[in-house]
């Protein structure tokens, strides 16, 4: 029986309602707004929170019903949330068919996992397929995430999940090797080494097609930062052209569909604050494999407030990552780094871009921690893809940076992506002076990030924070600790209000 026949509901005459855009954004869980007293709800006995199968020509989606009283929605209408609207893509006057969804067969494998059974390759394929098709509710996705944390995936399961996630989305094929990539597990504020590493590796002849994410809870993601200097929303053919021309790219991963189940799973994991090693391994590796990478450098920042807390945990994660990478013929090198404080000076898209540009231009005032870390990672990656002999990567990377080849290559990549531009400078700035003299004893990254977000980051590209001090610095009373940047008066006021009220954004001690 075809999907359509199966899902047209159980009545000979399927229910049809006029598709309408509700203008409501429920994130990635599709919702359909229907009158509680409409013929469909009445005859099918649908209540609020029921899941229904919506079909329009060859497109379909499973949505949750939210029932509407009063005249917000007509009796003959199905108003769609943004997620449902984009999946069905109706034209004016289109009718949407409403029926009962097919039973979610892959949930029975999830239930078995809940009770401690292993999941085989076929089950994991079906789970990922159903996730990508939008058949999982948040509740069901949460059960899957929780089950995989309660009964951790073994290496076979991790391998199957990784493969299923790779195969569920788009893939890039380069027809050659090595294809380099890098990834940082659990980012640090301001840790924008990626554009520098890509420029160095590409400048020295490497191929490094890099996709990055936007900020989810932070004041900026690499894609947000890059967008202040060049377009980042490229499709697959465009990415191919840029990489063939320059050896690298620095684009937003959201514009291509690598491992599309992963975005939903990451959102649920964040909401639950549950980390599962299996999910992390599959998430990271599936995106690299889908991007066509053959050689990947992974940076694991280790620190008490970082995602990975200590070297033991880092070693365990490294072992799993390496074993799964080997299954896919992916050469993997893992480095651990200091995850105890932010990197660079800027927090916010444009301010981080200025840090990156400073390092690429070898500007004397560029943040040396960012430069050092980018060089170290570039060195490792150059040696991994054999563009530098063992032990010679750092010298090669440093020369490419100091002699301007990396900067030239970065500009070429930006031009190829659609044209380089100068990051904005926020109009409203306010230095935050210290009220006492002394030594900087602590910097609260979480509170700094909050000030940056209140100032408007990442939506306002110029907004954020410029930090002037590091732990250990001595400051005199009245000296600025950091400067708030905002594109509008309101954002500055919000950030200031919080910064003044919150204690310990930057702590000054009076001792030596």
């Amino acid at each position: 029986m075809s999907d359509a026949a199966h899902n047209s509901g159980t009545n000979a005459t399927p229910h049809e309602l006029k598709a309408r855009r509700s203008g409501i954004d429920t994130r990635d869980e599709p919702v359909v707004y229907m009158r509680a007293d409409c013929p469909v709800c009445r005859s099918e006995g649908f209540r609020a929170h029921a899941r229904v199968f919506l079909k329009l020509r060859d497109r379909h989606v499973i949505a949750t019903i939210h029932q509407v009283f009063g005249d917000l929605v007509g009796l003959d209408e199905a108003a769609l949330s943004e997620a449902a609207w984009h999946r069905l893509d109706p034209r004016p006057g289109d009718l949407v068919t409403v029926g009962h969804p097919r039973p979610l067969l892959s949930m029975s494998a999830v239930r078995s996992k809940v009770y401690g059974k292993r999941m085989d390759e076929e089950s994991l394929d079906q789970v990922v397929g159903d996730l990508v098709a939008g058949r999982y509710s948040d509740i069901e996705a949460a059960a899957f995430i929780t089950a995989c944390a309660a009964h951790p995936l073994d290496l076979t399961e991790m391998g199957s999940l990784t493969r299923a996630m790779v195969e569920s989305g788009e893939r890039l094929h380069w027809g050659r090797s090595p294809i380099a990539d890098k990834h940082c597990v659990g980012g640090l504020p301001g840790n924008r080494t990626t554009p520098i590493v890509v420029s160095i590796v590409a400048a020295l002849g490497g191929t490094i097609p890099k996709t990055s994410s936007r900020a989810i809870t932070s004041p900026a993601g690499t894609a947000d930062m890059m967008e202040t200097v060049a377009p980042v929303e490229l499709d697959m053919p465009q990415i191919h052209r840029v990489v063939e021309r320059t050896g690298g790219c620095l684009v937003w991963g959201g514009a291509v569909r690598f491992s599309p189940a992963d975005d939903l799973l990451i959102r649920i994991e964040r909401a639950l604050d549950i980390d599962s090693e299996g999910q992390l391994v599959a998430s990271v590796l599936s995106k690299k494999i889908a991007a066509g990478a053959t050689h990947v450098l992974l940076d694991i920042p280790v620190g008490p407030t970082a995602k990975v807390r200590d070297e033991t945990a880092a070693a365990r994660l490294t072992a799993s990552l390496s074993k799964i990478a080997a299954l896919f013929d992916l050469k993997l090198r893992v480095v651990t780094s200091d995850g105890s404080q932010p990197i660079g000076r800027g927090i916010g898209p444009a301010l981080e871009a200025y840090d990156v540009l400073g390092v690429l231009q070898s500007h004397p005032t560029a943040p040396s921690d960012l430069r050092d870390k980018a060089l170290r990672l570039s060195a490792e990656l150059l040696e991994l893809v054999e563009l530098a002999p063992p032990g010679r990567g750092l010298k090669a990377a440093t020369e490419a940076l100091d002699q301007g080849q990396a900067w030239e290559r970065f500009k070429e990549i930006c031009e190829a992506q659609g044209g380089m531009r100068a990051p904005p400078r926020a109009e409203h700035r306010r230095p935050m002076p210290t009220t006492t003299s002394g030594q900087v004893v602590a910097v609260d990254n979480r509170k700094l990030a909050r000030v940056a977000k209140l100032a408007g980051a990442p939506d306002d590209k110029g907004a954020g924070i410029e930090i002037h001090v590091r732990v250990g610095d001595r400051v005199a009373k009245g000296e600025p600790l950091y400067t708030i940047h905002s594109e509008n008066r309101g954002g500055l006021d919000y950030a200031l209000e919080y910064a003044k009220q919150a204690e310990g954004v930057i702590t000054i001690g009076d001792g030596e």
Copy 2:
């Protein structure tokens, strides 16, 4: 720091928006509709799906943001879903304060449970408290349910959860003993023994304050059936009065707040189709303890399609129930019964009521399976509360029924609850004749339930199905197998359409 101060957000000036009723029912997950470009979302960086703390005078709720584009909601407005509206109960012109929610501390205990740690009494108290306060999103509740299924609660945890659930809601106190109660674990279609058992036990001098649920996925719950003969939405003082006067009551449990966390947990369990013994034990016993019961009879139907599949599973569940009941000085007796086919003839609120009334009136055509089961359960309960000596319960129950005392008592209970009334009779009926002669070999309960729901049950009280045959009966071609009842033409058509199309609602074999 007080809840209010803590939750007023992080700005000195809290954000205030005009409270408005959205007219959207999202079931029990509170939602607030706010413009994506409103000052609160902009300044706080709230995106769709963020959780916010809403406060209005002394009331508050945690809600999920759904972001609105366009002019459905004003820039200065917070439109509330039904659940959020009822929790905040705004008056015209009220302003609602929007802030960041307090971190959900009890989720850290849930996370520990995910990783296999036991939950202590304090943690379970906090989880239940946060559930009742509406602080758990569906995703978080799903993680709790899943964790308790992945790492089953031990007896100590079950006891703690039961106690926490009892203490989180209202309680009835009777100041005497015994107080009888009965419960069926996993209902069967048409299994309406409750009104008969309550009437018999009360008629013989027992005290049996019974609260029941409405249908969730079935064509009728006991409360739906009872509502066709008397009011069932009584508050605590009313329940007290009815029971003091008649010894019994038959009311809807949803109108009182016994174990209020349970409704949310049950909804999530149903959505996931995950059964956890610990949740089941706590759910069943907490409601009985809250209702003031001292002696409880539990009926566990066992059958291949019932909730409990075999006697081994029934024995295991019985052991857990008995141990936890003992912790609360609750005398518990468990009986298992045949769960392989429906009980009685009617499916649907009024049709089931007619079955019950027939048995209570000792009508010769009343369904004997319903009568027999009700008598057996009454006998067990009478012996448990020592209203009958061991082995004499059945005789006492049968006499109370046959001599009309139970029927008299049932009428008194209905009068005390607000007045007895006759169940409606549906205007539209359609007998469904068999197209072949032969023997009834199977009855598909699930499909029968679906026909009843399409006909309008449980919302249309008179709608449903009357079954005329049982497995093993011989039928001649043209003889009706069942009759569809509907209150309107449309419902009848829907039900007919499905019944004609679906195969095997009732299967006739041609053999002997």
